[in-house]
Symmetry: C2
Subunit: 364 residues, 2 copies
């Protein structure tokens, strides 16, 4: 398992499955840094427990934790959740974690992308990210799977695949100057083809958090099945997100996927723009090199940031009037899955949500 | 797996198998502390690689490592060895690690003993031992096995079992004032019965390292099969170890085991007393709270400190005239196993040897 593979998943017959395909388990990391999570990260940890507990209703969950929080995480999480020591700088398993690929003959491997905390010294969110960038190598050892090292800085939240040759991403993120400034759009597409085994890249323009993840797609659109996507929209033309979400919708409706299909496009409302309150901002440490969290700062709250599990959907709720309509929409779109809503506000205060803090490991 | 079990292995029908029974794998920890290992622990790490490589010829090996040495350990160890993040204060998996128990119906659990660095504030070897004492809890999670917490401070190197109801240990260690001063000999025997599932405790008096482990049995005697023991001896009556080894021999020859058998007792010579040289002592950091390693200090070199693997024996050699006779003795006593000798000097400079740095996980 320790072997670093030469070659690429594509050349070896491995592909990234859609999130809606069967999982072996879901991975998470435990939050603790006091300069991103208020009140010593205790409210965030309580939110993480709710997410892990919800996912564990549907499939096994492993939570990675730094040594100094091992005992606390173990005692806070329910016994059915596995807790392993796995150091990280923060808790975004989707973004610093591995992307698993399968060969549809029982084989599972993983792709280890470069990670630089969403923009490195250009516009990254904290420094250093030394522990984060080793997470996929450690997961490979823990699971005894072989590992590809991709020559590309990219986070798991910046793309979605349909498992049948199509990847959905944003120009804002993948072409951002803080990621791979020396690679052309065509070279980046080439790496996506090689490491995800896709044929077609569907480019949206923007996401809703330019200053954080530089517009990860997992806040604005996702595949819910091959050929079927769900996109976020708002009816309010004065909402700064209106135009970009409409542009995404237009692009999705005009494109075809790798199989030549027109996409079936569904929409879900966005919650109202949510800003950090005075009460939520005061208990966060101030630290050089970490993005500040100030009263009035906009969060990236979105219902799109859910995780598809085996027989379930775990979605964030925000105490917003659209909570129920969004949930109803997911129940309609995923008739075979139980939709569980967990409180998402404490998570989005730190920059993401359920999808950002999880990473599915597909069944081999 | 996270469940802390009430009850005891004995009550639940679990027993500790003999080391000679089949293993699922062997666990190790990676050495790095510069106040115990000379030259930044690099010579020790090279020795560990030799041990792990030798064991991996016979069975799977997992090496636990602190985050800051993860990359180096991964790159130094051969690819067939699994490397996982598992923080420790030093690298003695036998002593701070778990004791696995089985129910002979496929079930595997583990016992988590108390650990206080061989004597705590009374005569422990370093401070703190906070990471060491959590190792068994983390192994339980990694392997998804349930865990018993034993109300006893005890290291894995201080006892050997035959898997059929008998445990071999020393009074010097188990009755030492730095371990369980509030427990009587009878209470300690009771815990051994409950947590190892044994009926009979065979007490030797002393080991050969009073100042380090307080006389661990794994330097002076072991079971090689039910009813059969191997004990260390020296012919030199001027050797300070002569009397205590003779006393052990006498006790072994006079006792019976849990099944009422007289023990079949074999002997193996001890290597000459080995002291730390000037060259070996200068590159060790000086640190308050850690036992110093000075030129002229006596080591606990012993051929008894070998590991029995699936089809193999990994034993230390010392460049001593008795290396070959000791190896020949093990080959004679273990006819079905290949005996592999690895250089043991760098390991014994830090206080133990092959057996001390390994912990077998039996097959369920």
């Amino acid at each position: 398992m320790a072997q670093l593979l030469r070659g690429t998943p594509r050349a070896d017959g491995y592909r990234m499955p859609g999130e809606f395909e069967p999982h072996a388990q879901t991975w998470m990391l435990w939050p603790q840094r006091p300069d991103n999570w208020r009140l010593g990260a205790k409210p965030a940890q309580r939110a993480w427990v709710a997410v892990a507990t919800a996912i564990a209703r549907f499939e096994p969950v492993t939570v990675g934790v730094n040594h100094d929080q091992f005992e606390n995480a173990r005692n806070m999480l329910p016994p059915e959740v596995r807790v392993v020591e796995l150091s990280s700088n923060d808790a975004w398993m989707r973004d610093c974690g591995p992307t698993f690929v399968v060969d549809d003959k029982g084989g599972v491997r993983l792709v280890h992308w470069g990670f630089n905390a969403w923009g490195g010294s250009y516009d990254g969110l904290y420094f250093p990210w030394d522990k984060d960038q080793m997470v996929p190598a450690k997961v490979a050892e823990l699971e005894r799977v072989e590992r590809y090292r991709a020559p590309l800085i990219m986070e798991g939240g910046s793309f979605h695949v349909d498992g049948e040759g199509t990847v959905l991403t944003t120009e804002e993120c993948l072409l951002s100057p803080g990621r791979n400034p020396d690679l052309t759009r065509e070279q980046i597409e080439g790496h996506l083809r090689d490491y995800l085994s896709v044929e077609k890249v569907v480019w949206l323009a923007k996401g809703i958090d330019p200053e954080e993840t530089n517009g990860h797609v997992d806040d604005v659109a996702c595949f819910i099945a091959p050929g079927v996507v769900l996109a976020g929209v708002t009816d309010d033309r004065d909402d700064w997100r209106y135009d970009l979400l409409q542009d995404n919708l237009r692009r999705l409706r005009q494109t075809t996927d790798a199989r030549g299909r027109r996409l079936e496009v569904h929409t879900v409302p966005m919650p109202a723009i949510m800003t950090i309150t005075e009460e939520e901002a005061w208990g966060i440490d101030s630290a050089e090199g970490s993005i500040p969290r100030r009263p009035g700062d906009t969060t990236a709250a979105s219902y799109l940031n859910f995780l598809i599990c085996n027989g379930g959907i775990v979605m964030p709720s925000f105490g917003d009037p659209y909570d129920d309509p969004a949930r109803a929409k997911l129940e309609e779109l995923f008739p075979g899955r139980e939709v569980v809503a967990v409180p998402g506000r404490e998570i989005v205060l730190g920059g993401g949500n359920v999808h950002c803090i999880t990473q599915q490991q597909p069944l081999g």
